[in-house]
């Protein structure tokens, strides 16, 4: 372990040494698409007039939408928090100027899906009044600085829109802090101009990040097609209090991809499924760095960004600093957009950007470029032809995948093979589709396949969960059933045991006999032994009847030897009464208990069941008593035979059902009461 650690640190040392010697590495593949940056790369950053309305989407970043903290009609000041971040991966939304919240509604968003999102509409008052600023310094508490970055709503401004504070809050030991000024996508020059004009601000942001991350080396990487930016950044880095390496890297798309940039600068590859911090690297875009400096040192959160507006259809291309929420339509109008019957508005670069669906969508934090392209400039791809397996795609793939193989598997929807060939390591840079001689929309196939696999995985997960739940439920039900059976079996045994001790007879028969005996005893004093025989006959009849409904054997046995057992019968009655009383008490107390307990805790289903069982038992008992009473009353009538007949078993059953229902109802009531209590 120790040797492993030392060899690792040795390796690290050599990498750092090589980096210090100016060594660079290469990533696999890459392409040289026409850069078309000439149009805007010399145009200074300029501003546009404040729009009449700003549309601030709550979903301008990767992660959870922000949650509004203002209401319609509120007046807000520039820099004021409009919506706070929701959860760890989320970002706040800030008022880009002072004004009034005129609406919070669903509105077009600057997103590939074209789906409307919750949006705060701000009507500027054109006073541009800042809220009170409380700037921090470089020496402020780390937690305070992180909190400030978080509250300032800063996300990765290079295009991905990942909340910046999350990356900076890493606990990992950081060897390399890489500042990404590569800007490898064609057309875009916003970072180029930012570096040319505001290098000091970028460096100030780097100093803050260095304070938080304590990296061993800091490298600003710029593609060598931006000589002015390289010079400017070198100049700015020289003024810094910390050591910052400015490195020109070969122009090769997609060198600005996070993973590729890390490989070029450090030779390291981010392991599949991990993040750069896992190998001790943090990458931030130059514009993000600049925004961090503003937020921390000036307390100016992200209210605007630089957007390159270019393409053949704008007469006044440029790098415009625009308030977040400005509609793209207005931005285009400002750049003297000449609409045609057909055009493409691309947000981002032509390689990884998306075609805008609604022109009224707003500029969001990650909108770095708007290309108004004529159909000749960025034509639709010609119809797809058969793959000739030329392997050009494989030669240019920066993830070193086999794009043509993936394409076959994607068309076959062969998810297993797609996973085997590491589809999810595809960064969708579009290099493969760019070089494909058969104009196969490879990336689109991969996107669809990824979505399908994600959907299938999710479906499977849900199905598994449902199945699991169902099986658990079956197991539970079976267990409950077994427990019930076990309980009733035990109870039956106990009863059996108790009865065999008493009279070797059935409980009902015994009860009947007891009542008979009681009655007989009452009449005994006045009447002749004749009556005794009548009573005996009745008892026999009773016993017989009950034997019909319950187990016949013990009843038959008992009916004959009632007389000599009178004394024991009386005793049994007393015992039964006592037992009943005891049970009643128990029920009451348990009811009380459950009510009390339930008010505090959740309802114990077991307890409720017990209560139900008790109530049922009670109902049964009442029924028995009733029956017994009926029997007793009937006995008073003259004709014995009639009496027996009138004890209608049907009636008894109905009574039982009613009693049960009553008990159930009572139970339900009780339960609902408990639930109410709980609430």
């Amino acid at each position: 372990m120790l040797s492993l650690l030392s060899s690792w640190s040795l390796e690290l040392k050599t990498i750092i040494n090589l980096v210090d010697q100016g060594h660079q590495w290469k990533f696999h593949g890459g392409i040289h698409p026409p850069s078309r940056k000439e149009r805007t790369k010399t145009l200074a950053i300029s501003t546009i007039e404040m729009p009449q309305q700003l549309f601030l989407s709550l979903s301008q970043h990767i992660g959870q939408p922000a949650v509004p903290v203002v209401a319609i009609g509120d007046t807000v000041q520039k820099g004021q928090l409009l919506a706070k971040q929701d959860g760890f991966i989320s970002a706040a939304v800030i008022a880009p100027t002072s004004g009034t919240i005129s609406d919070i509604c669903q509105y077009s968003n600057c997103h590939i899906s074209g789906i409307e999102t919750q949006t705060i509409v701000l009507t500027p008052d054109h006073l541009n009044t800042w809220r009170t600023k409380l700037p921090l310094t470089l020496t402020s508490d780390h937690q305070q600085i992180l909190e400030r970055i978080k509250l300032s709503g800063i996300t990765g401004l290079g295009g991905a829109g990942f909340p910046a504070a999350v990356k900076l809050a890493t606990k990992a030991a950081i060897e390399f802090l890489i500042i990404n000024g590569a800007e490898c996508e064609p057309y875009i020059t916003s970072d180029d101009l930012l570096m040319q004009e505001r290098g000091a601000g970028i460096v100030a942001g780097i100093e803050i990040m260095a304070q938080l991350l304590k990296p061993q080396r800091i490298i600003i990487a710029i593609e060598d097609n931006k000589p002015q930016a390289i010079t400017a950044m070198k100049e700015a880095a020289k003024q810094s209090i910390i050591d910052i390496i400015v490195r020109a890297i070969p122009t090769l798309y997609p060198a600005g991809g996070e993973k590729q940039l890390i490989e070029v600068l450090t030779s390291k590859q981010v392991p599949s499924g991990k993040i750069p911090a896992d190998i001790g690297v943090v990458v931030q875009n130059v514009a993000t760095s600049h925004a961090i400096a503003n937020a921390v040192l000036l307390d100016e959160p992200i209210v605007s960004r630089i957007v390159t507006v270019t393409g053949e259809l704008v007469d006044k291309p440029g790098n415009y600093e625009v308030p977040i929420g400005t509609s793209i339509e207005q931005l285009l109008i400002h750049a003297q957009f000449k609409p045609q019957t057909q055009q493409k508005i691309i947000i981002g670069g032509p390689m990884m950007g998306f075609a805008l669906q609604q022109i009224n969508a707003p500029v969001i934090k990650s909108t770095n470029c708007v290309i108004a392209a004529s159909i000749n400039e960025l034509p639709d791809a010609p119809p797809e032809q058969n793959c000739i397996r030329c392997g050009d795609c494989e030669q240019v793939c920066p993830a070193n995948l086999l794009p043509q193989q993936l394409q076959w598997f994607a068309k076959d929807q062969d998810h297993k093979k797609l996973n085997d060939h590491n589809l999810f390591d595809c960064i969708e840079c579009g290099a493969c589709a760019f070089v494909c001689p058969s104009t196969i929309p490879l990336v689109q196939y991969y996107r669809v396949a990824k979505a399908e696999i994600r959907q299938t995985t999710e479906d499977k997960r849900q199905a598994d969960r449902a199945k699991d739940r169902f099986e658990q439920r079956n197991i539970r039900l079976e267990r409950d059933k077994q427990e019930r059976l076990e309980r009733s079996k035990k109870a039956a045994e106990v009863r059996q045991a108790a009865m065999s001790k008493n009279s070797d007879g059935d409980a009902v028969a015994a009860a009947l006999a007891r009542i008979k005996a009681k009655k007989a005893a009452a009449e005994e004093s006045s009447d002749a032994p004749n009556k005794d025989r009548v009573a005996a006959a009745i008892a026999r009849a009773k016993a017989k009847k009950s034997a019909q409904t319950t187990s016949p054997e013990p009843a038959a046995q008992e009916s004959d030897d009632i007389d000599p057992q009178k004394a024991r019968v009386a005793a049994a009655i007393a015992r039964a009464k006592a037992k009943k009383a005891a049970q009643q008490q128990k029920i009451d107390s348990s009811n009380d208990q459950s009510t009390n307990a339930d008010t505090i805790e959740t309802i114990d289903p077991k307890k409720a069941r017990i209560a139900a069982v008790i109530a049922k038992a009670k109902a049964k008992k009442t029924l028995e008593l009733e029956q017994a009473n009926n029997n007793g009353n009937d006995d008073k009538s003259v004709t014995v035979a009639d009496t027996i007949e009138t004890i209608d078993p049907k009636k008894a059953r109905i009574a039982a059902v009613i009693a049960k229902a009553k008990a159930k109802k009572a139970l339900e009531q009780q339960q609902s009461n408990n639930n109410n209590d709980q609430r």
Binding site: G273, Q385, N386, I388, L401, V435, C436
Partner: protein
């Protein structure tokens, strides 16, 4: 609302097209074909014309049967290229139906019945060639001797007549045309060497024959050089990559050198192997067919080495004088396995680089 065209990224595409790839390969055959004409006469052109015409007609017919878009598929130039490659492979004065049968089989069976361009396992031109070689071995091995050794001067109409009727306008049969001044039939250098070796001659003795000169076989050396030049142009244009040609030639050089050093009397030298028969044509124009070759660089090296080995083995120990077609078809079979085992390591899955 204005019309916004919404398409998936990437929005700009490279200029390379399948049709351009195919056309470049066709153009690159020009030096080789010109050299063939120079040494063996215009017959070569007629064979190419017959094969191209057949290729286009049979492609159209089969596309119609398969209910595919004829125009789009024809425009990829792949059928035309197959025709040219097969036409180059056929002896210059072979009867016209040889080219027709071979091309029809190549296009219809070897390509379209497998699913069309991109789906065929075997190189169509080579499948057509092998079918012809096996079915009509006499016609397919009747290569003319180089013109400089011939005692007859053939006119343009002689070629047409010979191809379509079997005799020249002056009534000479192809067999008669192949007789040298000494009245002995002349075969290609590869064929001559093979026959002589079976007759008990040493390779050195065989090389004394008039069909050979100091560079190997008369004409063939230059034909190979010309095809190599075309191939280098393809490399320069990045239509093909270096891996397959280098591997084919390298492994042929390696194995023939070992064989020659071990047994110089019964085997041709490495130079003889490299600049004779279809070596350069095969290495640059046939083996590099992307559809039927391995895809990764590593895989292509393996694929090429295997072809080089097979050429040497079949030429030296097999029953046929040349081996390019067999070697390539056999190697085509190994492609799925090669592809499977030569997968590159995906970014972030290397393990040592973390």
């Amino acid at each position: 609302m204005m019309y916004l065209s919404v398409t998936p990224s990437p929005h700009n595409l490279g200029t390379n097209k399948t049709s351009r790839v195919m056309a470049s390969v066709m153009l690159a055959t020009v030096p080789g074909v010109a050299t063939l004409i120079y040494f063996f006469g215009y017959g070569v052109l007629f064979q190419i014309a017959i094969c191209c015409l057949t290729a286009i007609l049979s492609e159209m017919a089969i596309l119609k049967l398969r209910q595919k878009d004829i125009a789009i598929n024809l425009k990829d130039n792949s059928a035309l290229l197959t025709g040219i490659l097969l036409g180059i492979s056929i002896p210059p004065l072979a009867p016209w139906w040889i080219g027709v049968i071979g091309t029809c089989f190549a296009i219809i069976v070897a390509k379209q019945l497998y699913g069309g361009l991109g789906f065929n396992l075997f190189n169509p031109a080579m499948v057509g060639y092998v079918l012809l070689l096996i079915s009509f071995p006499v016609a397919m091995t009747n290569w003319l001797m180089p013109l400089e050794l011939s005692h007859v001067v053939l006119s343009f109409s002689d070629y047409i007549s010979a191809i379509f009727t079997g005799v020249t306008t002056t009534g000479l049969s192809i067999h008669e045309l192949r007789l040298g001044i000494d009245g002995i039939t002349m075969a290609t250098p590869l064929d001559t060497l093979k026959t002589d070796l079976t007759l008990g001659l040493t390779s050195g003795e065989s090389m004394q024959k008039p069909v050979f000169d100091s560079l190997g076989g008369i004409g063939w050396f230059w034909v190979n050089i010309a095809f190599a030049i075309g191939g280098l142009a393809l490399l320069k244009l990045k239509v093909i990559r270096w891996h397959i040609p280098v591997a084919v030639l390298g492994s042929l050089l390696f194995f023939s050198l070992i064989g020659y050093l071990l047994n110089p009397d019964s085997q041709g030298s490495s130079i003889f192997h490299l600049f004779n028969g279809a070596t350069m044509f095969g290495a640059f124009f046939i083996a590099t067919d992307p559809v039927t070759a391995a895809t990764s660089n590593k895989g292509r090296l393996l694929f090429g080495c295997f072809i080089g080995l097979l050429i040497y083995v079949i030429r030296t120990f097999g029953g046929f004088p040349d081996a390019m077609a067999f070697a390539i078809l056999l190697a085509n079979m190994t492609v799925p396995v090669i592809d499977y085992y030569s997968k590159p390591t995906t970014y972030g899955r290397g393990g040592n680089n973390e």
